[in-house]
Amino acid sequence: MRRGSLDSPARKAHTMLPTRSRISVLVFLLPPLLVYGAAVLFPILQSLVLSFFSWNGIGDMEFVGLANYVHMLTHDDVFWRSFLNALGYLAICLVLQLGGALVVASLLLSLRRGRELVKTLYLLPAVISTVAIAFLFERIYSIDPVGLLNQVLSWVGLGSLERPWLSDVNTVLAAVSAPEGWRFTGLYMLIIYAALLAVPRELEEAAILDGASRWQLFTKIRFPYIRPVWITTTIMATTYGLRGFDIPYLMTNGGPGQSSELVTTYMYKTAFTSTDYGYASTISVFIVAECLVAVGLIVFMLRRKADA
């Protein structure tokens, strides 16, 4: 099929819009655009400007050029530690959210009864408040008094693994990432499940008649079909993961030491505890850049795969 033939109906519809309608579309688009500019673009620009200054909030602002960036990238061990932690946090969240969602959604398709109940149960954590989740998991991980996780480990004979999960520097990052992953698995499951439902039955039946295995059916038919939705969910989950803040902040405040410090919690402390607003803005600019790069990479990789 020629590419132009796909585009032309849309273009035709566009040119067919009477001038009056075009103006009204613009008029209706303008207010949200202004709101977006004021609420999103302006603060980002403001942070960018502030990141070139040293300012403690009450003294004079001092222009320092790129000094904040140089310090962040070359001298700040806490920043790099929190960046690596954030990547670990992201990886755990993505595996739990996307991997978990895909598995559950696929299993859900083969379920004959009770789909609605399972869907609701999986979605439930997404509607519980973050604070409640943090409280809940803090109790689950506790060792004194013994929490659920340690209790279960001792019941199944793995007592040697019992530990204060949130105080152990080796386990705390996974321990604060898991609740965030668990929380949104249901939400992504729902999106992917909806996409899987839209896969045409006749395509699947044709593949089965041709002797495709369940795995081939998934990799050759279903997954390529849901790829656009998969890209969107991956972008959503990645950007949420990179901006993760509340659960680690509430559960450990980044500790012990910097073991569960994320770039976001570090930025928050730099701004509101250290009152180093210039440097905090530098970190926030990094977070924006990091999210843009991540989205770019995802789109690039998945598009290339689709074209291959």
Partner: protein, 449 residues
């Protein structure tokens, strides 16, 4: 001094605080000089605000509300708007953000931190030394209560609203069971912990989540070895952790960690977890101040341990330069008076409230910041209550300033993090020392120019 608040709640509030920084109730009086303590003009009643960090149902707020109501009877149109954020870290964020926006209300709470000192230097706070003298109240205050509020240069910009003494509470029967006695020296504590652990007892209950309780421990050895000057030099980068007093602290904390003095997983235990561990008879020691007297020295205390509880003050060391009657005796977060909004009304209300406040406060069973009133012992108190209050009569001239009010905020955050790692055995004393010395060298100059 910090207040009993579940740390989860405090962080919850912190998360909310990001969105809720806009605050109403800021006065718009004419600008006044920090030393002009008797502004001229008429008293025009209006609403004034106090941004504070105290328990919402605590005595300070209850009393000040009552006094404000009494004052309003003679000054129709006057009211006191109390905006409290009991959780300290959230409060500090709110107060510093408002200070940055130059929107602080007539009265606001602050410790004698480097940030507050910068505000004072910019002429944003009234000289409380002069205010109290002008009101004729200065001499009634306990010197220790005023000293706690002073900056390093001796200047005074905050009014103390309370006075507390911090003790080591201990369980006599658990001590007996483990065959240990009250430590004569700080250096005895690690061995004591080992003995208690052998007897299956948690030696010390500690709220690790809130950070400041562990930070108290780092201040003890240097205060005994070098007096109060060590921290005032350390925070400016003039003294180092690698100096002898600092090394004493580092090695002592390392020894406390190795002797398993604190419960497993202490860093994720909160204020009430720690207190419960002590009052339920699981932990043998608990380091806390007289603000917990109503929980530890009244019939509210678990009957099973009530007769076993006693306390001792901070032990000395063989080479101690400070006396046994010198320890942590904070007068709590102070009340600062905004210079910009100080007018005849604020001055008159302060005179009214501060004159009547100490008697009302002492009647609640707490130690007042002044010496001209007698604390009323509650009817349900155990004999320990009186004993705890009596120590206030025999205090030395020096006191330990909590380090979290002294260090610049970035070094303080790092110290709190590294202390947990040191006590948990995740970092060595040498690494701790070099990390902290370089952190302070990097951040102190910005705050102590």
């Amino acid at each position: 001094m910090k207040h009993p608040l579940r740390s989860k709640l405090r962080r919850t509030a912190a998360v909310a605080a990001v969105a809720a920084l806009a605050l109403a109730g800021c006065g718009t009086g004419s600008a006044s000089s920090p030393t002009n303590v008797s502004p001229s003009g008429q008293i025009v009643p209006r609403q004034i605000s106090w941004l504070l960090s105290r328990p919402a149902d605590g005595s300070v707020i209850t009393i000040m509300k009552k006094l404000a109501d009494d004052y309003a009877k003679d000054h129709p149109g006057f009211s006191l708007n109390l905006i409290t954020t009991p959780d300290r870290p959230s409060y500090i964020q709110k107060y510093e953000t408002l200070a940055a926006a130059d929107k602080l209300p007539e009265l606001f709470d602050t410790d004698a931190t480097p940030f507050a000192q910068q505000l004072a230097k910019q002429g944003k706070m009234m000289d409380v030394n002069k205010v109290l003298k002008d009101l004729g109240l200065y001499d009634s205050f306990r010197p220790a209560a005023l000293d706690y509020q002073r900056f390093d240069d001796g200047s005074l910009y905050m009014v103390p609203m309370q006075f507390e003494l911090e003790y080591f509470w201990y369980n006599k029967s658990l001590f007996q069971k483990a065959g240990v006695s009250v430590p004569k020296s700080l250096n005895d504590i690690p061995a004591m912990c080992t003995a208690l652990r052998k007897a299956g007892i948690t030696p010390i209950a500690l709220d690790g989540q809130d950070q400041w309780p562990l930070e108290r421990y780092v201040s003890y050895e240097p205060f005994r070895a070098a007096g109060p000057d060590y921290i005032t030099s350390l925070k400016k980068g003039q003294a180092k952790f690698s100096d002898a007093p600092g090394q004493k602290a580092v090695n002592w904390l390392d020894a406390l960690g190795k002797a398993k003095c604190f419960s497993e997983g202490f860093s994720s235990q909160g204020y009430s977890d720690a207190q419960n561990a002590f009052t339920s008879g699981q932990a043998a020691m608990y380091n806390i101040g007289t603000w917990e007297l109503s929980s530890l020295a009244t019939d509210k205390l678990n009957a099973a341990v009530r007769n076993d509880i006693d306390f001792f003050t901070l032990p000395t060391t063989p080479e101690s330069v400070t006396e046994a009657n010198e320890f942590v005796s904070p007068s709590g977060i102070g009340m600062a008076v905004n210079a910009k909004t100080y007018d005849p009304l604020v001055a008159d209300f302060l005179k009214f409230a501060l004159t009547k406040y100490p008697a009302e406060y002492a009647a609640t069973g707490a130690l007042a910041p002044t010496t001209n009133v007698q604390t009323t012992i509650p009817a349900n108190a155990t004999p320990l209550y009186q004993k705890a209050l009596d120590k206030a009569k025999d205090l030395g001239t020096k006191q330990i300033m909590p380090w979290d009010t002294q260090l610049d905020p970035t070094s303080n955050t790092r110290l709190q993090q590294e202390l947990t790692l040191l006590v948990q055995g995740n970092t060595s004393p040498a690494d701790f020392t070099s990390t902290m010395d370089s952190t302070i060298a990097q951040n102190a100059p910005k705050f102590f120019k």
